[in-house]
């Protein structure tokens, strides 16, 4: 498993594309946080929202692309079939691939948040729980989307297909999803609202992380009076545990599917 992690980590961090993204993310997040004034306090504010939105927009995209294109490329070039012939169990191979890509992308996110924090310091901002929480939740978001990306990369038959599926998943979960929920909201009876929102959080990791961040900052008053009871629950320990559980499911299920797929591949290899 260690070899698999090392292999994946080396291959990914070697990618010029990923390094370019790391620099881009660092520059963007620093700019956003430095130009937003110093309102990044312990509560959810517009500058907080700006940095969070940057993560919510970019991180799923890069995780999906990096993860899926890499695996699809391995598959296309026949390297994956070669690896599958090695005497390594699929479990450790799956985990190795996943952890390896996670470490590379976490590095990218850490670079972004590191430079953003330094930029905030340079402009006279103060430490707040938000900077830390936002970093942690971006890590969670990266991990979830990498698990999905591995699966996408395995399912796709070539790089181009992987690219298409990844872009579609990204656009759907980040851009279209909210409008679909809003449309449903205008159609279904009013008493279903909370159920619909809860379901929408479970079904989309982007939503999960967005709502989780707000709740963890104890700022869910933001969601308005209609969701008061729900917000209180989301801020409570049981709410937070539920968020953790959903995040775990979002990581475990795709990885499980990857494992099943690889096992099948191994049989044919």
């Amino acid at each position: 498993m260690n070899t698999a992690i090392k292999y994946q980590w080396m291959m990914m961090i070697r990618s010029k594309w990923l390094i370019t993204f790391a620099v881009l993310f660092a520059v963007l997040s620093s700019t956003v946080i430095a130009s937003s004034g110093h309102e990044a306090s312990g509560v959810f504010t517009r500058s907080t929202a700006a940095l969070l939105n940057l993560s919510l927009l970019l991180v799923p995209l890069v995780a999906l692309l990096a993860g899926s294109l890499f695996i699809a490329g391995e598959k296309e070039d026949g390297r994956l079939s070669l690896i599958l012939t090695y005497p390594v169990s699929t479990h450790s191979l799956t985990l190795g691939l996943y952890v390896g890509s996670c470490i590379s992308l976490w590095t990218v996110v850490a670079l972004g948040y590191g430079s953003a924090s330094i930029a905030l310091f340079a402009t006279g901002g103060t430490w707040s729980t938000f900077v830390f929480l936002s970093f942690v939740f971006t890590i969670v978001l990266t991990s979830i989307f990498l698990a999905i990306a591995l699966f996408v990369g395995l399912v796709a038959s070539n790089r181009l297909q992987a690219l298409g599926i990844s872009l579609f998943i990204w656009a759907f979960s980040v851009l279209f999803y909210e409008f679909i929920v809003l449309f449903l909201l205008s159609v279904v009876p009013k008493q279903w609202t909370i159920f619909l929102f809860a379901l929408s959080i479970i079904l989309n990791p982007v939503e999960l992380v967005r709502v989780w961040t707000v709740a963890a900052l104890k700022s869910s008053a933001l969601f308005g009076p209609q969701l008061y009871e729900w917000s209180k629950w989301a801020e409570s320990a049981s709410g937070q545990l539920t968020f953790i559980a959903i995040a775990c499911i979002w990581i475990i299920v795709p990885l499980f599917l990857v494992n099943v797929w690889m096992k099948r591949g191994k049989r044919y290899a």
Partner: protein, 443 residues
């Protein structure tokens, strides 16, 4: 000559000073007895010890407590009752009134009473003033019980009073911090109110001033109802983050001047509902979910020279439209994309307050769930470029310069630098290590 006379009073009274020695339980008789036996104008020094309440002061005396002098009401309704003019109580600790009724101190039909450096704990109401004139409440600490605010009493309750000065008090864990009920000529200055339902509650109050108070982490900072002629200035109103939370709500009131206040991180910073002839000027609205909210009609209102910075929504106008300038100057909006070719400090184009999101919100209140979410922010931005959405309000003379942080010094946060540097350096090392490792293997 007159001042000389006033100087003489304490010197003369000192000659008649009596000392009360407190012991447990038995001391009750001593303190009440000492008060009963004292002559008008006497100064009683209350020694350290626990005295049993309730205590009734019915003659003009001075009660100066040494540190550690406590009057314990042991659940009686009013722990200390003052029913005489010119009473001065200083340094005493007063505690344990009844649950659900009563107060630490009741001042009834008195005038020229001063409470100074008094500590009031575990009480229903803190100080209850009924029909008092010229009352001074200075540097007191009032802490209610740790129960839901609906079961607590108010910190300072002024009922039908005139000329009350409330200065430098620290009030927490109460229902309403300072409640003005038919109170006239009230001065509220430099107090700190936290963990209350409403920090300051004006009800049928008239003519007064609230200055340099810090109102934080309450449900509402300031609640003004059916009141008039108030000047509210230089207050810090922060973190009223409950969904019902308003920094300040002015309802059915008139002639209120709100100036130089700082509203930070409130759910809704300032809400005007039937406010007539009000001035809102030179305030700072920073990082609120909603800065200004206007409901019903607010005739003759002037909103000018305020700074709107980093609020999620600058204004929500739900009733009659209001103007955001006085014909010469407007406000500073961080959302305003300005041009100022004639260099007069005023933007050449008006600032229109509009948002797709606000319109959606009015139709479906639950859309609030998507406040500043990636997709809706994107929609809002796109929409502001391409369509001429109906503006909620207009500032014809938006200011383009802002002088921020006048009183604030930039505070360097080393924790932030440490956090940033650790992330930055470790990620660079990781990348460098990973790339070199690959290189060596390839060679």
């Amino acid at each position: 000559m007159r001042s000389l006379f006033f100087l003489l009073i304490p010197i003369v009274t000192l000659l008649f000073t009596k000392t009360v020695y407190g012991e447990k339980i038995e001391a009750h008789k001593q303190l009440q007895q000492a008060i009963d036996e004292a002559h008008a104008g006497d100064v009683l020094i209350v020694k350290k010890g626990i005295y049993k309440g309730p205590i009734i002061i019915h003659k003009p005396i001075h009660l100066i407590a040494e540190p550690g002098a406590v009057v314990d009401g042991e659940g009686s309704e009013y722990v200390v009752t003052i029913r005489a003019p010119r009473v001065h109580v200083e340094g005493l600790t007063i505690r344990n009134s009844a649950y659900g009724k009563g107060a630490g101190v009741l001042i009834q039909k008195s005038s020229h009473v001063t409470l100074k450096h008094v500590r009031i704990e575990h009480v229903h109401y803190g100080v209850y003033v009924e029909k008092g004139t010229n009352i001074n409440l200075l540097n007191n600490v009032i802490r209610g019980r740790d129960i839901h605010f609906a079961q607590r009493g108010n910190g300072i309750h002024l009922l039908k009073t005139s000329g009350v000065v409330v200065r430098e008090n620290h009030i927490s864990r109460v229902q309403d911090g300072i409640y003005l009920d038919w109170a006239k000529h009230t001065m509220i200055e430099k107090n700190e109110v936290t963990n209350a339902r409403y920090a300051i509650h004006f009800m049928y109050a008239e003519d007064g001033m609230a200055k340099e108070n810090v109102l934080a982490e309450n449900i509402n900072g300031m609640m003004m109802m059916m009141s008039k002629q108030f000047t509210i200035g230089y207050n810090t109103i922060a973190k009223q983050l409950d969904y019902r939370g308003y920094g300040a709500l002015i309802y059915d009131s008139e002639h209120v001047v709100m100036h130089n206040n700082t509203f930070r991180y409130n759910s809704t910073a300032l809400s005007l509902q039937n406010a007539r002839h009000c001035h809102v000027k030179d305030n700072e609205f920073i990082g609120n979910y909603r800065a200004l909210h206007s409901l019903y009609e607010n005739p003759n209102i002037i909103v000018v020279k305020n700074k709107f910075l980093g609020n999620m929504e600058d204004a929500l106008i739900q009733g009659a439209p209001i103007t955001f300038d006085d014909g010469i100057k407007g406000n500073y909006w961080d959302a305003y994309q300005f041009y100022d070719f004639n260099d007069d400090g005023v933007g050449d184009t008006p600032h229109r307050i509009r948002s797709m999101y606000s319109r959606l919100l009015r139709k479906w209140p639950s859309v609030q769930f998507y406040f500043q979410s990636p997709a809706l922010s994107l929609l809002d931005t796109t929409e502001s470029f391409f369509t001429q959405a109906q503006a909620q309000g207009e500032d014809r003379f938006p200011l383009i310069e802002v002088d921020r942080n006048k009183n604030e010094t930039i505070e360097r946060s080393w924790k932030l630098l440490l956090f940033g540097s650790i992330l930055f350096v470790s990620s660079l090392l990781m990348i460098g290590y990973g790339r070199r490792m690959t290189y060596e293997k390839n060679c």
